[in-house]
């Protein structure tokens, strides 16, 4: 890359600059148009804080409804497709703890 090449490129860009400068809108018109532009609405801090509080509230309510409720296990009975296999004579023995008693009088 020679200095001559750089100079040539510079000349080309400067020609472009002269063209752009001739076609540039006047500053006054640009400033007037700028001042007439609608201001973009930007959410302020309060709006962001309210949105965050709402999200937090929804999260808390969701988690509470998922984990917070108590379940009465005594009233729950699991019915499985193989339940019928347990319907046999003497099935009540399976649901109770057998008690073994020893009658001393029989030995005496």
């Amino acid at each position: 890359m020679t200095e001559h090449d750089d100079h040539d490129l510079g000349e080309r860009f400067h020609a472009l600059r002269r063209e752009d400068a001739a076609a540039a809108p006047p500053l006054r018109a640009t400033l007037t148009a700028a001042r007439a532009r609608p201001r973009h609405w930007r959410p302020g801090g309060a709006v962001v804080a309210t949105a965050l509080a709402l999200v937090a509230l929804v999260l808390i309510l969701t988690l509470r409804s998922r984990h917070g409720g108590t379940v009465d296990l005594a009233g729950v009975r699991l019915r499985t497709p193989t339940d019928f296999l347990l319907h046999v004579p003497g099935a009540e023995l399976l649901r109770t703890v057998p008690r073994f008693t020893f009658d001393w009088r029989v030995l005496q």
Partner: protein
Amino acid sequence: MSPEALERELDQLHSAAFGWALACCAGDRPAAEDALQASYLKILDGRARFDGRASFRTWLFAVVRYTAAGLRRRAAFRRWLPLAVLGAISDGRPDAATMVARADATRRLTAVLDTLPRRQREVLHLVFYQDLTIAEAAEVAGVSLGTARTHYERGKAALRKLLKEEPE
């Protein structure tokens, strides 16, 4: 800086800022005017404040570049919305009126520049068109000096090659 002083500075740099806005908007004049107005509004509103760390020109160009990028992103987003039919949206290409008004040599230059990656185009514009140093160009483009130097060298080589290939 007082509003009067700001306007004086803007007055001195206005045509250069317009050229830079055109470069940031890939030669699309309406988009460039829009970016320039939005940048001036930010400056006059105080949303963009000059803190004196860089030169006023470098700072102004950085504001224009940042604003043009924001408008480009917004335009790209709006193109995907059904509301796009309600208004003309910049497509990030040079507008026909600007291209027709250009002389042949400058039209060739802008056409070739359009084929370069954005960063290379920006650094070349800042150095050759705006006569900034590579360090100042790096500051405006928001990249390190080494990165700007790489973009400058690669961009310059690509530009020379393409200009030689292009028929006169």
